[in-house]
């Protein structure tokens, strides 16, 4: 046996040994998020903040190390499902967390339920995840599309808006958000005078739609956009002078802290609703925003908060089990029992649906010395999703 061979032999054996050793001890959290491509920023925000929550306990619970395993979903359901399989079967993760997109969450739904893997939904908002397709292994700490938009109907009607024009991207989430608002707005006596659904992630120029909206004569336009589309819509609506003839309102992601730095003054006057705004003045939020800014150099967005709360819930649940994850059913149950006060306020999981019960914040974008900020106009406490069709 020559020396070279011996060296290789030793290296290989030590790698094998170290990997089996670490396997036996770590608590593994699989993160199923987009880390490449156009939506990577949301994956980064969620993971950053989750790490922040884990750092508070030094990545350790009852002597077991917390280990984060990242898997890039590329924002595609089929890739995500493959990565989920790898996380569950090869990496043997204890808990799966993540998915930005609803179609990704729905794609992995059957897999996590059949393998009894606790799955924490940290963003995806499709209503059916905690309705028709609910499961005791799926716990949603983010929101349902209905939950966010429904309170805005009566609120805007009360605010003096009588007619509204709906505008959003043409995909499942966009349609769900609009129909949630529509149902409660109409129930409060409002009237929808028109609705338009733009090609999802392909609309760069809202010019052709803005003309129609302007001439519709509505009191307000109610929109939902995110990412580049949110930036472009707000800027273009401003340049066409839309705010001169109607109020611009919508789901709050449209002016998320991630997009405001690019929208600048064009965002002023927007009235939105969301489960979190950075200007909440509680000690939990101030402390969270300070820590986030210190580490990542920017204001934490609602996505980051969802990631942080996901991390907190994992930590709390594992603590109460003293780090014992052998019984997955118990782990899922423990996760859904956790109730915390996070940056967005008190959070509990609805035992009927496993969807989070949380506050909604209605805000207006106003100017400040540091540029536009979200000023809270109203807070609606303990909002639930009706969870129609779910039996746990």
């Amino acid at each position: 046996m020559n020396i070279k061979f011996k060296v290789w032999f030793i290296i290989i054996i030590s790698i094998l040994l170290s990997s089996t050793l670490s396997k036996a001890e770590n608590l593994k959290i699989g993160m199923l998020l987009p880390y490449s491509g156009a939506v990577a920023i949301i994956g980064e925000e969620i993971t950053n903040a989750l790490e922040l929550a884990f750092e508070e306990v030094n990545y350790e619970i009852s002597g077991r190390k917390l280990e984060i395993i990242r898997a890039d979903t590329e924002y595609k359901p089929n890739i995500a499902l493959k990565k989920a399989r790898e996380l569950i079967f090869s990496k043997k993760v204890d808990i799966l967390a993540g998915t930005v997109s609803s179609s990704v969450a729905l794609a992995v739904r059957d897999l996590v339920v059949s393998t009894k893997t606790p799955f924490i939904v940290a963003n995806a908002g499709a209503n059916q995840i905690t309705r028709k397709k609910c499961s005791k292994y799926i716990i949603r700490v983010s929101f349902s599309n209905y939950q966010i938009n429904a309170p805005m109907g009566p609120w805007l009607a009360n605010y003096g808006i009588k007619t509204a024009f709906l505008l959003s991207a043409n995909y499942a989430a966009g349609k769900e958000q609009m129909s949630a608002f529509k149902s409660t707005f109409e129930a409060s006596g409002g009237k929808i005078v028109g609705e338009e659904y733009t090609p999802h992630r392909k609309t760069k120029d809202f010019g052709p739609y803005l003309g129609r909206i302007k001439s519709s004569g509505a009191d307000a336009v109610y929109v939902f956009y995110a990412g580049g589309e949110a930036i472009n819509f707000i800027k273009q609506a401003h340049s066409f002078g839309l705010a001169d003839v109607m109020k611009i309102t919508g789901a709050g992601w449209t002016t998320s802290p991630l997009f405001i730095p690019a929208q600048k003054k064009a965002a002023l006057g927007f009235i939105g609703i969301l489960n979190y705004v950075p200007s909440i003045e509680t000690k939990e939020n101030l402390e969270f925003q300070r820590a986030y800014k210190e580490k990542f150099g920017r204001i934490a967005s609602e996505f980051a908060v969802q990631g942080y709360d996901t991390g907190k819930m994992i930590v709390e649940a594992l603590k109460s089990l003293s780090g014992d994850t052998s019984n997955k059913e118990l782990l899922a149950e423990e996760l859904s029992k956790v109730s915390i006060i996070g940056p967005r306020g008190p959070l509990t999981i609805d035992p009927k649906t496993n969807n989070v019960i949380q506050n909604m914040y209605i805000f207006e974008v106003v100017n400040s010395a540091n540029g536009p900020v979200l000023k809270i106009l109203d807070k609606i406490e303990a909002v639930k999703d009706p969870g129609t069709g779910c039996s746990l």
Binding site: S36, D72, N78, L106, R109, D110, Y171, Y197
Partner: protein
């Protein structure tokens, strides 16, 4: 378009080596490796359909993922809405793909080169957009709950059996395409690719041959789509996006166009590298891109060319 110089014997040798390694992996692999193997076999089917179209028919399609979509969605709808046996669903998906492919082919084969690429792109994107917004097809969320067939008392929902089932289909499709390539149709296609004017003046029906090959290729892509839906248990519009066709083309160029086995090798290599790179770093696309450029600059006939050179080198040194 130049197809690689193909050597029938080498084509078969390579194919046998690939199949044997698949069986090896399937026996000794764990649950996830078997899943990955199944996925690669399905992608190989798709790559072979593109390879046949490009290598024999001389047609580059940037919309072929549409047929993956047609196969996957028809399987989903036939199974979920009409309760048809999953195996029969796949067969029907092949027939549907063949018919739609032949009809579309009949209209579009008169265009050539970049125009053909763009017209296939247009059709593919129209299909994608339609699936993305159509409520019956589940919109952007797609359709889930698709099950795999039970054959000869074996439940293919068990990954070990399913990958064997896929491997058998791969061998059948390979044998079929190899036979077509060496048949009069294949010879005619070669002639058309090299000089379509001459075939026309000799009285051959260029349009008929080309649309027939488009139909065959579409049928195989549709089979791949159907199997992909069964593998994942769901289907979503992403499967028919034009970048999926683009990735398929990348596989056959890396493998070497026109050699069938090369297409499979390309699918294996590109897919595994992509999967491993994306685990290592977030900027894996940069590495992939660099790899493509190196292949173009230094491997003129792809991996197939490399193997051919290696074989010739061994023969010379014997």
């Amino acid at each position: 378009m130049n197809a690689v110089q193909y050597d029938k014997k080498l084509r078969l040798q390579l194919f046998i080596i690939l199949c044997c390694s698949a069986i090896f992996v399937n026996i000794f692999g764990d649950y996830f490796t078997r899943f990955l193997l199944s996925e690669i076999i399905i992608l190989s089917l798709f790559a072979m359909s593109l390879d046949f179209l490009a290598g024999r028919g001389g047609m580059i399609s940037l919309g072929h993922a549409m047929f993956l979509g047609i196969g996957a969605y028809s399987t989903a709808i036939l199974f979920i809405n009409f309760n048809i046996d999953p195996f029969l669903c796949s067969l029907l998906a092949v027939v549907i793909g063949l018919i739609i492919g032949y009809l579309i082919g009949f209209i579009i084969v008169k265009t050539d080169g970049i125009f053909f690429i763009m017209i296939t792109l247009a059709l593919g994107e129209m299909f994608h957009s339609w699936a993305y917004t159509n409520d019956f097809l589940g919109g952007s969320d797609g359709i889930s709950g698709i099950l795999r067939p039970k054959l000869l008392g074996m439940d293919l929902n068990e990954p070990l059996f399913f990958s064997y089932y896929l491997l058998i289909l791969l061998i059948l499709v390979y044998a079929f395409l190899a036979a077509v390539t060496d048949s009069p149709l294949g010879r005619n296609l070669d002639a058309i690719r090299q000089n379509s004017g001459r075939v026309l003046s000799l009285g051959g029906s260029v349009k008929l041959y080309k649309s027939a090959s488009f139909g065959i290729s579409a049928a195989i892509a549709s089979l791949a789509g159907s199997l992909y839906a069964q593998l994942n248990g769901f289907v979503s519009p992403e499967i028919s996006h034009w970048t999926v066709s683009g990735e398929g083309l990348i596989m056959i160029i890396v493998g070497g166009i026109g050699s069938l086995s090369g297409a499979i090798l390309g699918a294996v290599v590109v897919h595994i590298i992509q999967h491993e790179f994306s685990k290592l770093v977030d900027w894996w696309m940069l590495l992939m891109g660099g790899g493509f450029i190196l292949v173009v600059l230094f491997l003129k006939e792809g991996l197939w060319g490399l193997i051919l050179k290696f074989k010739n080198y061994i023969i010379e040194n014997k």
